[in-house]
């Protein structure tokens, strides 16, 4: 199995753990990813709000690069995934936009027919590879780990290309397949606040809080995500949220790829667990999924009797 790969800007900075864990996990599962050569920003919502046609052209350049490779395109960032799909629609439905985009691509010797397949890693693992192929690879089943699977907006709206729009189950199926217990989580497709957490925190942080709060109420040990912005909002602002909601207890928020890799026996370093602001490792040790690190570290210093 081989895919063209569009990382997007977040996976190279604040969302590095997603890229690192996914590359290692996919290599372990013998799924090949080839990064698009000199890709550009997907044309994100912020860009689109200034100039929609140019945003469509940005997306189209990436799609044209993938089309040249004649491979389906893997897009892990849910934001990029939504934008690439949207601009493919814009080109299909609006001849005026299509014409302008085509002129742009022609100027740099590229072309795009509109047929490029765009896939999220959730879809690749659950549908293209299938849970059966992974079963024999599970080395450290996530026994006793209660996971709240969180999808956010862009994987299920405006369309849900690979799952139920209101109650998606792909992530649940994958994580149950590696031994985790998933909790019912009606907030799974609620909005995390997007960029509002940074621009209008009074609004954005409340949205993130509602999701974290519900995960606690359902006694989840960890929240699994599939989008770098959701992951960032839910994990990195917990202290800020506590200023208004002091009863909020910290809860780790990770990428589903990190949990799957751990279950397959890949190391916590390979799964980029050191990039967590709210650590997951202590919980994995407590559940006996990871060895307690104490044995490996130098023994605690003994107090000498005077």
């Amino acid at each position: 199995m081989k895919y063209a790969y569009f990382p997007g800007c977040s996976l190279k900075s604040s969302g590095r753990a997603f890229e690192e864990s996914m590359l290692k996990l996919f290599a372990h599962l013998e799924i090949e990813l080839e990064e698009l050569d000199d890709w550009n920003c997907c044309g994100a919502t912020a860009y689109m709000s200034v100039d929609e046609t140019s945003a469509a052209a940005l997306a189209a350049r990436n799609l044209a690069l993938a089309e040249k490779m004649a491979l389906p395109l893997a897009v892990p960032c849910a934001g990029c995934y939504g934008v690439l799909r949207k601009s493919a629609h814009l080109q299909k439905d609006y001849p005026a936009i299509q014409k302008q985009v085509k002129d742009g691509l022609t100027a740099i010797g590229l072309s795009y027919t509109g047929a490029q397949e765009i896939k999220h890693p959730l879809q690749i693992l659950a549908q293209d590879l299938g849970p059966k192929a992974m079963r024999s690879k599970v080395k450290k089943p996530l026994k006793g780990l209660k996971v709240a699977c969180y999808y956010g907006c862009k994987l299920v709206r405006p369309e849900a290309p690979f799952d139920n729009q209101h109650d998606p189950q792909t992530m649940e199926t994958l994580l149950k397949g590696v031994g985790a217990r998933v909790v019912d989580f009606p907030m799974k497709t609620a909005c995390c606040g997007g960029s509002l957490t940074g621009t209008i925190p009074d609004v954005g942080l409340e949205l993130s809080w509602a999701i974290l709060h519900d995960a606690h109420r359902r006694e989840a040990d960890v929240i699994a995500t599939a989008c770098p912005l959701c992951q960032f909002n839910l994990e990195c602002y917990q202290e800020d949220i506590q200023e208004k909601h002091p009863d909020l207890k910290p809860i780790p928020v990770v990428y589903f790829t990190q949990l799957m890799g751990i279950a397959m026996g890949l190391s916590p370093e390979d799964m980029a667990l050191h990039r967590q602001v709210v650590p997951l490792t202590p919980i994995l040790q407590e559940k006996g999924i990871l060895d307690s690190g104490a044995a490996k570290k130098s023994p605690p210093r003994q107090e000498h009797d005077a």
Binding site: N40, V50, Y94, Q100, L196
Partner: protein, 192 residues
């Protein structure tokens, strides 16, 4: 004393050309189908923060009340989560309408004073058009320098966490050959 505000809207306040311009923007063609059922306002997770709810935005837009719509905080508070759009019984592209209104407000400079989102959008646009990529830390710096420099200090805690976990890079990101992207954008912007 509160400022005295006129609540009544008059026919002369309407700008039908504005409504027509929005109708022509991608995803906005169906606004005339709206039956004002307010499913959008009901499902919107941030409607309670908006000065004009989504249902009213649709009505004011198609009736041509340009000033009310483009000066509202609603279009900026909308996080484009598409919850309204998928539930709309008349299949109106409500999130797309919000996006079209953002574009109009940015083009005409009619956003509320102190609203950071249109400034972020423009900085984002300029950065990507130049380098082809987003440099997260540079973008945040630019945003706060232009909107609220004092807030930079409040970001120190977050910045420290990201530095410690290796999730923030201070160097600017760029494509290897951004000139090719710039050429493409230039050619795509010319309407023939």
């Amino acid at each position: 004393m509160n400022a005295i505000q006129r609540e009544i809207r008059y026919e002369s306040d309407r700008d039908p050309a504005f409504a027509d311009a929005i109708r022509k923007m991608p995803g906005c063609e169906a606004i005339d189908r709206c039956i004002q059922c307010a499913t959008c306002s009901g499902i919107c997770p941030v409607a309670s923060y908006m000065d004009i709810t989504p249902r009213r935005i649709i009505e004011l837009t198609r009736s041509g009340f340009k000033d009310d719509v483009l000066k509202s905080n609603t279009i900026w508070i909308c996080a484009s989560c598409y919850a309204c759009q998928v539930e709309c019984p008349k299949e109106i592209g409500i999130s797309d309408v919000m996006m079209a209104l953002k574009t109009k407000a940015i083009a005409e400079g009619t956003y509320p004073k102190g609203m950071p989102i249109p400034i972020l959008a423009q900085e984002f646009h300029d950065m990507v058009s130049q380098t082809g990529r987003v440099s997260e830390s540079k973008l945040v710096q630019k945003l706060y320098l232009k909107t609220n420099p004092f807030k930079m200090f409040g970001l120190r805690r977050l910045g420290m966490k990201l530095m410690k976990t290796g999730r923030m890079s201070l160097k600017g990101e760029s494509m290897k050959r951004p000139e090719s992207l710039q050429r493409m954008l230039q050619a795509a912007r010319i309407k023939k």
